[in-house]
């Protein structure tokens, strides 16, 4: 169902979360710092990504399928093809009709699409190979405030429980709003449907508030006094440091090279 982390024992899965978080961020940062239309560099970044996927023994299709979520947003950059910088070239379709497009803009559009796809794939790799508590420990290590880590950790713990609750509510609604073949409309008027959904949200929030009160009582009974304890991460080992610095260096070199290639 909520396929978040894929269990496996590959070296990528076993690696320290701090290393993975840092390298993923470095990958995305350097890739996005690279200029537009630096095609060879994009291929090199892709190579890095693919070797990581292979190393993690994951299915490439699984990663690709998840990246499809980004595709609708690419529409936002679509107008660049026509509004990009001059010179505008024209292609004729059906003889007399002419479409004017900017080759520069087209290049930018494809660059943005490629960068978005690569960045998303890198983020997916991080998610698929690292458990969320590990990511949180890494974030705490990098100085994200304890209170915030605690909120995120609790949110993570209750996400699936509340998700199930939402699914039950939706199933209850569906089973009470049958559709006849002649009327495709489900339920009453638009306003009525919106109100029902609103009531569901309201009742979800109310239940969650009550749940948080119970949770607080449970925490109190286990000695919670406002003090937050998080797992202390041990120091990075020598090898981990070496992998980390080598990886960042490699990505930095790729970026450096992109400066000579892109436009």
């Amino acid at each position: 169902m909520w396929q978040v982390r894929m269990e496996s024992n590959s070296p990528v899965h076993r690696a320290d979360a701090r290393v993975k978080v840092t390298l993923t961020l470095a990958f995305i940062l350097f890739l996005n710092m690279a200029p537009h239309q630096a095609w060879p560099i994009y291929i090199l970044f892709l190579t890095v990504l693919l070797s990581m996927i292979l190393l993690a023994r994951m299915s490439i299709w699984r990663v690709i399928r998840r990246t499809l979520l980004v595709t609708p947003f690419i529409l936002a950059a679509f107008p660049l093809i026509f509004s990009g910088p001059v010179p505008h070239l024209s292609i004729s379709i059906f003889g007399s009709d002419v479409i004017k497009y900017s080759p520069e803009g087209l290049g930018r559009f494809i660059s943005i699409a490629v960068k978005a796809w690569l960045s998303t794939s890198a983020a997916i790799m991080l998610t698929l190979t690292t458990s969320f508590p590990d990511i949180l420990t890494a974030l705490a290590y990098y100085g994200v405030p304890k209170l915030f880590i605690a909120i995120l950790g609790l949110m993570w713990r209750y996400l699936f429980i509340i998700n199930d609750e939402v699914l039950r509510m939706m199933r209850a609604r569906d089973s009470r709003s049958a559709v006849t073949p002649c009327t495709q409309q489900v339920g009453g008027s638009l306003f009525w449907r919106a109100r029902v959904t609103g009531s569901m949200v309201g009742s979800l929030l109310l239940r969650s508030l009550e749940r948080s009160v119970r949770l607080y009582a449970a925490m109190l009974s286990r000695g919670y006094n406002g003090e937050l304890f998080t797992l202390e991460a041990n120091a990075l080992s020598h090898t981990e440091r070496r992998i980390l610095s080598l990886g960042v260096l490699l990505l930095g070199v790729l970026w450096g090279m992109s400066l000579f290639i892109g436009d």
Binding site: I151, A194, R195, T197, G198
Partner: protein, 325 residues
């Protein structure tokens, strides 16, 4: 993957690659400052029971975004949740809750990028909450006595939070040179005028339900006293600025492009670097095409040798294991 509909429907989560580095960094900085203030304020004013409350409510809003109702055809109305969180929890706690929601969406479901996360937090957690708070507070004080005043204020606050946040998103895209302002702003704003109505109706329904089910929730916590003058002013200013600025920017896209170019100092720096370094890096290769190919080959060699080395090391480890085992 049943959660796909949850993820693919917010046209407001900017993926990586769409924002320029400068815009990403600026909005990361603004968001971090606001989150820091929010953490300090919640630490000061609220008791320790707020931690479980905020954690569970963040999970509830995340999951509640799945709740939708069909409008027409394939479109549906759904919830983002900034307004209802603000009304229930007050602005600072709502900032933290919405930030958590946006972070989990980006980290776990790639709904929004990591570099663009700062901008996404700014749009949905900062702008969304501040604007909701400002609108809700103004309208509540305006219709103080009427019981429908609260519902009306909730509807408008929810609609406004979505609309203004979408304008902010469009401006970020335009500033990054990704989407021309005269297209991005009307398109984003236009879609979200409608999406905002869905948000408003759901918020209205939720408030009506809570009003019946547990009225004190809305009168004690929810009936926001004007104690947060800063947010009230901040939210009003954001709302006014964005609604005034956006039509201006979209009718004069050249102005915004000019700003984008002026601010593109990274580009300039890159060009300076380009003029400076060639003498050092690839000596002997004067042909730019050849230099490109050489750089590409060099890069490929580096990448493959690293990948090969890692694979070798891995193979050795598994071999050693299988021998022993």
């Amino acid at each position: 993957m049943f959660f796909a509909p949850v993820l693919s429907r917010h046209p407001m989560h900017i993926p990586d690659g769409f924002l320029s580095l400068l815009v990403s960094i600026i909005f990361w900085m603004i968001s971090i400052i606001v989150i820091r203030i929010a953490l300090r304020k919640t630490n000061q004013t609220l008791d320790e029971r707020q931690v479980p409350l905020m954690g569970v409510l963040a999970a509830a809003i995340f999951a509640g975004q799945m709740l939708n109702f069909s409008v027409t055809g394939g479109t549906s109305g759904h919830l983002l949740g900034a307004a209802i969180a603000t009304i229930l929890l007050g602005p600072w706690a709502a900032v933290l809750v919405m930030t958590s929601v946006v972070i989990v969406q980006a980290l776990l479901f790639q709904d929004g990028g990591l570099l663009a996360l700062g901008a996404n937090i700014f749009n949905m957690a900062v702008v969304g909450v501040f604007v909701s708070y400002a609108i809700y507070t103004w309208l509540i004080t305006l219709f103080r006595k009427q019981s429908w005043g609260m519902l009306f204020a909730g509807f408008v606050a929810a609609w406004g939070s979505i609309f203004v946040a979408s304008l902010s998103c469009a401006l970020q895209l335009a500033l990054s040179g990704t989407s021309p302002a005269n297209i991005a702003i009307p398109a984003m704003g236009g879609i979200h005028v409608l999406i905002g109505i869905g948000e408003g109706l759901i918020t209205l329904g939720a408030l009506a339900f809570l009003f019946v089910a547990q009225k004190d929730l809305l009168t004690t916590q929810g009936n926001i006293k004007i104690t947060n003058k800063g947010i009230l002013i901040g939210g009003s200013v954001i709302a006014l600025m964005l609604t005034v600025l956006s039509p201006l920017a979209s009718s004069h896209p050249d102005g915004l492009e000019w700003v984008a170019e002026q601010h593109g100092f990274l580009e300039n720096a890159r060009e300076a670097l380009y003029e400076f370094i060639p003498d050092y890096v690839m000596p002997g290769i004067s042909n730019p095409a050849l230099a490109t190919i050489a750089a590409g080959i060099l890069g490929a060699i580096i990448v493959f040798s690293v990948a090969y080395g890692v694979a070798r090391a891995e193979k050795r480890v598994t071999k050693g294991k299988s021998l022993r085992g």
